[in-house]
Amino acid sequence: MKDIISKEKHIETDVLCIGGGIAGLMAAIRAAECGSRVVIAEKSNILYSGSGGLGNDHFRCYIPEVHGNDIEPLIDEFQRGQQGGLRPRSFILAWLERSYEIMKLWDRWGIPMRYQGRYEFAGHALPGHILMSLHYAGAHQKKILTEQAVKRGVEILNRVMCFDLFSNGRAIGGATAINQKDGEILMIESKSVVLGTGGVMRLYPASTPARMFNTRLSPTCVGDGRAMAYRAGAELASMEIPLIRCGPKFFARAGKATWAGVLRDPTGRPVGPFVTKPDNKYGDPVVDIYQDIFVDYKKSGKGPIYMDCDGLSDDELEYMLHWLRNEGNTSFLNYLEEEQIDIRKNPIEFHTYENELFPRGGVYYNEEGKTSLDGLYAAGDEFFGGISGAAVFGWIAGENAAEYSKTHDSMNRASFESQFPETREIMRGLQGRREGPNWEEGNVAIQQIMWDYAGLVRSETLLNAGLQALGRIREKAYHTMVAKNPHELMRALEVLNLIEIGELIFITARERKETRGKHIRVDYPFTNPILEKLLIVKKVEGKPVLEWREMKKMKNK
């Protein structure tokens, strides 16, 4: 077999952004504005990459002229919601405060943040509660942000996957990467690094087991940033708390909050107490707070549950479709049209993508976008935060990374090069073998273990057994997996990252001896107020070390 890793290349820069999604692009734009040389390493193509690649339609935002001058009630509401509970108040304050400025920036750059001239808030809220999600037309956001980055001199490397960070134990000095087009290895030396690789898909099975790329968010986001940050010694938090969402059954898509219909049982009865007719402002929030309803209905003989949009006027339907298109659901809507499925006449079955758990937590970055390692910044879904979180903290991380790069020298070259052989050996091993499992076998094997041993039923004995099994997969993956070209090499490296993340979930889930949200410990079936703390994990001398940390809850004025 031909040696696909034939060449090596050295690149130097001030700020390296790993991942060119919303977070990475915003970081790159800001860092370049602050005078840094910036490189974005993007595993896909930046024009459509990441979970915002085909668009979005909700931007969490505080607008004083809409919400009034008191931001506190919004912070309270935020902390009650799905994204807030794992973050200290000071973090949410920083997020919301800066969201207004970032929103206006996007509007100026040509991402329409107003609807018919006004700020339009809808979705992601209970009736009567504060609306914080601004409807915006994000279908072309990636193209617009890319133009802004290019205008400021940012260098974009498409189809380049970073695998490991260079670290001297305290600070970060760049990353190794592969060029997926030709297998070339890149050594990117950088004074600071911003991680923005998104969430973790493909760790648990999809709702269609035979189609593992059928995920709610982009299936190319597999937690590369979490894995490389952990290997470099950075702190990760809340890896044991899973996130679970719902949408059209079997055709996994985000955007539930844009659907205006009522969730009904097969006889037409609403399953929740909130709405009885379609509502474009709130939708039907029942499943946001009672996600087990789909399974409970099935078990009690009352399922399935349908999203019923009967009753929307033509204008109301067009309004909803407008936002679904901007959310990036065009292929889904095209499919309905081709199959002659009429949204108003044919209630569509919804379900939780319950197999598709992914960790809410991840690389623990603070309100300055800093991680626990010097020179390493992170933003966006490196710790779940949605589009507005990605935009705001990308911007902040880029600014601080640029500042750091001004005052720090590059890492000592010898120290930089000394870490390289290990990564090279892994890459050469993968592409040098002739026989063995490919990445797909590895990925499926991981998914089976994760779902059966760290899924919605967790216990000490299951977690111990699963961790052992995953350890065996790790051995096989590192020593027998085969990649027959640079594309498969990239997928194989993703598998190694998924194993890393899977192990951290087992280790942290075992430590959290309580049930909290969808972290369901059948041997500890209650939520223990004493454990309302962050669980931190980091690598020390080759081993994971756990630490419980109080979450600061004080009010910031």
């Binding site: 193509n45 459509y48 189609r211 790329f213 982009s218 079997f250």
Partner: protein, 74 residues
């Protein structure tokens, strides 16, 4: 095979192969009709369709397991 290219309409510009987030067209050559080398990695996101400069040259075929379930109208 999710993206389907109509060979008689395709301009062989390679835009679809260039933008695909999952790189399902890996190995396709510039100036030739792209080849869907990794169909199982398609997210059905529509990037290829929206980047194609010649309407009707490429479309997505949604695989049967992703079939949307719905109630017949009464």
């Amino acid at each position: 095979m999710p993206p389907v290219i109509a060979p008689d309409k395709c301009l062989s510009c390679g835009e679809c192969a260039d933008v695909c987030p999952s790189d399902v067209f890996f190995g396709s050559k510039k100036g030739e009709i792209p080849v869907v080398a990794y169909p199982n990695e398609c997210w059905h996101c529509n990037a290829c369709v929206s980047a194609c400069p010649h309407e009707g040259s490429i479309k997505l075929r949604i695989p049967l397991p992703l079939m949307v379930l719905y109630q017949e109208s009464s």
